[in-house]
């Protein structure tokens, strides 16, 4: 079974600085998708960024980027120019491929990010 590990239960960053959240996963599949979700105090889960395993290029969405190391099974999230609104729980998630349908998402335990003014 696939597993996702987030080794940092809590992180903090100064406003305008850069922070990197770690995620590793375990799988025997060669094709899959990886995601980072953000959950602010409002509880609404928001998709931050996604990565297809077959793409070597790291995904980027504005201030958010990933460092995807397929061989190492590592998928870290970098937040640049951190803002107070980035404070949230961040979840790393994995989804494999299944013929004819969608596979379930497997989540890590989350990292709570605090942004200090």
């Amino acid at each position: 079974a696939q597993t996702v590990t987030q080794s940092q239960p809590e992180m903090s960053v100064q406003e305008a600085e850069t922070v990197t959240l770690s995620c590793t996963y375990d799988t025997s599949e060669s094709d899959y998708y990886l995601f980072w979700y953000k959950q602010p105090p409002s509880r609404q889960m928001i998709l931050v960024i996604r990565q297809e395993a077959y793409k070597q290029q790291n995904a980027t969405e504005n201030r958010f980027s990933v460092n995807f190391q397929k061989a190492a099974k590592s998928f870290s999230l970098k937040i640049s120019d951190s803002q107070l609104g980035d404070a949230a729980m961040y979840f790393c998630a994995y989804r494999g491929l299944r013929q004819g349908g969608s596979e379930k998402l497997v989540f890590g335990k989350g990292t709570k990010l605090t942004v200090n003014p």
């Binding site: 239960p9 996604r50 979840f91 969608s102 998402l105 335990k109």
Partner: protein, 114 residues
Amino acid sequence: DVKVTQSSRYLVKRTGEKVFLECVQDMDHENMFWYRQDPGLGLRLIYFSYDVKMKEKGDIPEGYSVSREKKERFSLILESASTNQTSMYLCASIPSQGGSYGYTFGSGTRLTVV
């Protein structure tokens, strides 16, 4: 704006009650999921459904059942609520083609069983 709606944001129920958590999506998605979220444990899959009247157990199905009579609605049922089912419950959906689509989540139901 596409949406997954969970009928209750907060619920308080008594031990032994039968509890229904409702989830409705307006995106015509085939796949729907129920997760449970607990501090330090992340999100754990309870049940999912890939079609009307179809369901599959997730990682922690014990004490729960589900119903999907219509494509847009996926209900989670606690047959006899217990205090260890106090938690946040999240519903999500995704189209069958999946791919790099992320889930669309509801805003969660915080259930307290007393």
